[in-house]
């Protein structure tokens, strides 16, 4: 079981929403547990958010980031959506410089991040049941 900090700004809320989707899923927990890395995600036009994987916790920061960041990821909102909705393959995105990554050499970290984040994001996007009606039954 992974605990994920509640987001309070647009981007963090989004990241939290995505990551929470799998927080009870075995594979996800195995990936994240004790990964202990810091990833800086920036959506161009918005602002960077630091995602801190700390033992069984995921936390976020939107300012005074840590000195040591393991991975920096930068992309535009359209790339973000294209990746989520499977219109763009991450490798191509990197080659086309649509997905800019600092720390490319740490292949291990990168692949793990992709498994943790991109894969989850696609799952959220493609989940058919994951719609408002299911979600807010009580309010309809």
């Amino acid at each position: 079981m992974i605990s994920i900090q509640k987001g309070e700004d647009l981007i963090t809320i989004t990241l939290q929403n995505i990551l929470s989707y799998r927080k009870n899923d075995e594979d996800f927990i195995n990936l994240v547990l004790n990964w202990n890395k810091k990833v800086l995600i920036e959506l161009e036009g918005f602002y960077p958010v630091e995602v801190i994987f700390d033992h069984d916790e995921i936390r976020f920061k939107i300012n005074d980031f840590d000195k040591k960041i393991n991975l920096k990821v930068k992309m535009g909102i359209y790339t973000f959506l294209d990746l989520a909705y499977g219109r763009l393959n991450p490798i191509k995105a990197v080659l086309k410089r649509k997905l800019k990554i600092k720390g490319l050499l740490k292949i291990g970290t990168l692949l793990k991040f992709m498994k943790i984040f991109l894969k989850t994001m696609k799952m959220v996007a493609s989940d058919p049941n994951n719609n408002y009606y299911e979600f807010n039954k009580e309010t309809r």
Binding site: F46, I77, L81, A125, N136, T139
Partner: protein
């Protein structure tokens, strides 16, 4: 805030005799005077002064109501129409007591849907949820337009009070989409207004298709908040329901940039509905206790809903929208346009409560208090409105919730600051009301015209309205309701 001047309404007849008459008209089970039953009708979510009604009656036909009106008119007893009490303006608080007529319970039938001429003939109690369900099941190719309100809110009330809906950018004020009314006037006479006006007694259900071209008597009942008579039937226009629908989300940086974005996109005349909300409103939907805007976050999010009959028509409209946004960015605006469905799914599905109307915005209604300044606004003043109102919110350090719309292809706009608060927290209501009054003054000075107006607001307006209008208003009110029995107190009557 204006004190409601209490008047003794039982000079001519005793309360007991009134009760006797009411039970005679409506039967015992449809009449009550027990304070336990009356209490919920004595207030709404706003800060407007509560006041107990003396009786609640549940009518089921016009004959009962004719009898009631005649009785009340000869005994000077107030009549207050009520559907579901969801208005945000104290509109059904019986300021002088009297009889509250609850249409919601029994007079809530969908009498006819005209497939060809696209209208629905409704009793006053019909709700949005009910109408939507009925159309989806029986006339999927037709649609009504839905407001930013709960599904259990009333259709007819919203229409008669020029409410908003999610086709506003296409069709404008609901006042323009009423085809006909059946009303009971003070003398207990029943009149059918609109194209349904032929026929001595009943009108055929297929005759409720237009408001014009005969002398427009309907105006006498539109936006009058029940002050001129009791509406017992209302025909509203429906629209063809196009197969293709998509909503775009424009994320706008810069406090006032959203104004020009709405104006320009509104004029393109390709959008069904344009609404814009402060970023805080979006975050509220995610159920953050006190949503605040962080630097780097955009100031407003604007929703554009597009519909089309064919793929080509949709693409053509999409192209026009893209070009428009591109132009705006060329002019130095900072607008990011994304597919709302895609974005919201990743962001947080709760935000769909702004896309799938009617809907309950839990974080908005879960508070004990809710109030607003809802107004029609001159679109060239939006920048100034946003800036000044934003300042006021900050001054009182209350989270700014601003909701705007572009109406009828850009012919006018809607400006609507909203506030939720805790009624029972000491001093809270006063604090919010002070802000609301300041906002009201600023907006009215800039030419905003509030709708669904509480009495304290109409009093401010009366000071600004030209005397000729006031005279005419009083003249018609007196002509229609000489004894002031119809929802007295509204517009300070």
């Amino acid at each position: 805030m204006t004190e409601t001047k209490d008047r003794n309404i039982y000079k001519k007849i005793s309360k007991e005799d009134v009760l006797k008459k009411l039970t005679e008209i409506f039967e015992e089970k449809n009449v009550t005077n027990k304070s336990g039953d009356l209490y919920p009708y004595s207030y709404d979510m706003t800060e407007c002064e509560p006041h107990m009604p003396d009786f609640i009656v549940i009518p089921e036909n016009t004959l009962q109501l004719i009898e009631l009106v005649k009785f009340c008119n000869s005994n000077l007893i107030p009549i207050v129409p009520y559907i579901s009490g969801n208005n945000v303006g104290g509109l059904t608080i019986p300021e002088n007591g009297g009889i509250l007529v609850n249409f919601g319970k029994k007079m809530n039938k969908i009498l006819h849907v005209d497939d060809n001429m696209m209208y629905a003939l409704l009793e006053p109690g019909v709700t949005f949820g009910q109408l939507k369900k009925y159309l989806d099941e029986n006339y999927p190719h037709l649609r009504y337009s839905y407001p930013f309100a709960p599904p259990y809110a009333g259709v007819v009330g919203n229409v008669l009070l020029s409410g908003m809906n999610n086709l506003s950018c296409k069709i404008g004020s609901m006042g323009d989409s009423i085809n006909g009314l059946e009303v009971i006037t003070a003398d207990g006479e029943i009149a059918r207004i609109g194209s349904c006006f032929y026929g001595k007694d009943e009108a055929p259900p297929d005759s409720w298709w237009c408001r014009y071209p005969m002398p427009d008597l309907m105006g006498v009942f539109i936006n009058w908040q029940g002050m001129t008579g009791l509406v017992t039937k209302c025909a509203v226009q429906l629209w063809f329901n196009p197969p293709i629908k998509k909503t775009y989300l424009a994320i706008v940086f810069g406090l006032t940039d959203v104004a020009q974005v709405m104006r320009e996109v509104g004029r393109t005349d390709i959008i069904d509905d344009i609404s814009a909300v402060s970023i805080e409103v979006i975050k509220m939907a995610v159920e953050l206790p006190i949503p605040t805007k962080f630097s780097g976050e955009p100031d407003f999010a604007s929703m554009f809903s597009i519909s089309a009959k064919t793929k080509n028509q949709f693409n053509a409209k999409e192209e026009i929208l893209f070009n428009e946004v591109e132009n705006l960015n060329k002019q130095g605006k900072n607008v990011i346009l994304v597919n709302a469905d895609e974005f919201v799914k990743l962001f947080n599905l709760r935000v769909r409560c702004y896309l799938d109307l009617p809907s309950v915005v839990l974080p908005l209604v879960e508070y004990s208090g809710l109030t607003w300044f809802g107004s029609y606004a001159p679109s060239h003043k939006l920048e100034e409105l946003i800036e000044k109102v934003n300042k006021l919110f900050n001054k009182h350090n209350i989270t700014p919730f601003i909701y705007m719309k572009m109406m009828k292809s850009g012919h006018y706009a809607i400006f609507r600051p909203i506030m939720r608060y805790n009624k029972f927290k000491e001093g809270e209501e006063e604090r919010y009301h002070m802000l609301l009054e300041e906002i009201t003054d600023v907006c009215i000075d800039l030419g905003c015209i509030p709708y669904k107006t509480p009495a304290w607001m109409t009093e401010k307006m009366r000071k600004k309205i030209n005397p000729g209008w006031i005279n005419l208003f009083e003249k018609i009110k007196k002509c229609m309701d000489p004894n002031n029995i119809f929802n007295p107190g509204r517009w300070n009557t």
